[in-house]
Symmetry: C2
DNA sequence: CGTCCGTCCGACCGTTCGGTAGATTCGCCC
DNA sequence: GGGCGAATCTACCGAACGGTCGGACGGACG
């Protein structure tokens, strides 16, 4: 059978579009180039997506959905708050490491890359407030130190995104090449430690020992 | 004298281009739109800049130079390492708060927004290693806890950039409108506290008390 | 007054872009 | 095998883009 639609033309288009979108942004993405890389005629793109913007939305939504699902699983899993925070950070770092392109696109989206459309990202907002709520519950239970939960989460998101998408330009020597397992672990350890230090009490009363397993 | 070049047409072009570049990115910036906003004919742009890319470089370089100068002053100033770190963070936050457009452009640049040109940003690299070196000196003197200096600086840069450029989309309620003084202070205090917690020793032997003035 | 120069303008050019129209191929089901 | 719809093709379109050209304006200077 193995026709040209081996894995579904639509999905191949989405893959190529994701890469192109990550590298060049919405305005830089060229439809003829995508068609070329997929091995298809440009007009055929419009059979699957009504317009360039719809294609963009499709890529964006798919990335957001998968990210939200993955992190929701961690939040809703069993475990102490302390463990869950660590797992959450690690899952997020892994996700960004596996899909740096997706992260770039989300960063660009939040920079306002797409014309005429600022809504969306509702999933991301929901996710953010879920994590923040989880943290503040831990704070009420005196498990976490009283740092601003929203600020902490936003900061971590920005930090991790920056490590994988932008930092290679600033510190190519420090960051390995994309996907380098050693540097991923280095980043993961660093972020986990920062979060730990932000959430533990200054006198090590509670958190340090339990989170020290990192 | 007050000709049409009241404040220098070239500078007005740079201003408008900076705003446009921040909002739309390199590929999204349209020369005719810039000319329109400046109140000038599109052809006149080419009298001051040979090409779109040269205009972009001019905006980029100007922003980088000023940022580097400002932070260098703080690094080279008098003061204990502890105070200087806090001043450095505050100066950086202020700089981003005053020039969010510039920060957006730098973020976009590090995302690879400009065609055919990855070098540059040498100034940023120099600045980064200068700050990292400063921190590691403090660590050798046992003033700072032994956290990875490069990772810390990169993380702070990403965090702050994210707060001002991207977070408003994710948490519009949390972040005030751009330039809101209250939220700037909130962000500043948060970042300073994160850095403090990352650099202080777990047992509060040294750093906490001295930095607690924040 | 003439002319020189920095500044700016109106009109235009070649290319490329996103998008459309219509024909053709291919697999499938009756 | 004949009809049908999905998928893909070739060919084309209007608009918008970055960029060029030659000239008009106006002050400075001799």
């Amino acid at each position: 059978m193995r026709t040209s639609a081996e894995r579904g033309t639509r999905e191949r288009i989405l893959e190529v579009a994701e890469a192109s979108l990550a590298d060049d942004g919405y305005h830089g993405m060229r439809l003829h180039r995508i068609a070329e890389r997929v091995g298809i005629q440009k007009a055929s793109l419009f059979h699957y997506f009504p317009s360039k913007e719809h294609l963009y939305r499709a890529v964006l939504d798919e990335g957001l959905d998968e990210t939200e699902q993955t992190l929701r699983q961690v939040i809703d899993a069993e475990g102490t708050p302390l463990e869950k925070i660590r797992l959450l950070v690690e899952a997020y770092v892994d996700m960004v490491a596996v899909h740096p392109g997706r992260t770039k696109i989300l960063l660009r989206q939040s920079l306002g890359d797409v014309p005429s459309g600022d809504q969306q990202t509702l999933g991301a907002q929901r996710l953010l407030s879920a994590v923040a709520k989880f943290i503040s519950e831990g704070q009420r239970a005196q498990i976490f130190a009283p740092i601003d939960p929203v600020a902490l989460v936003l900061g971590v998101v920005g930090m991790v995104a920056f490590f994988f998408t932008s930092a290679p330009v600033l510190a190519p020597a420090w960051c390995g090449h994309e996907g380098n397992a050693t540097s991923i672990n280095k980043i993961k350890r660093h972020v986990v430690e920062v979060v730990r230090r932000c959430l533990e009490f200054g006198d090590h009363r509670v958190a340090a020992a339990k989170l020290a397993t990192v």
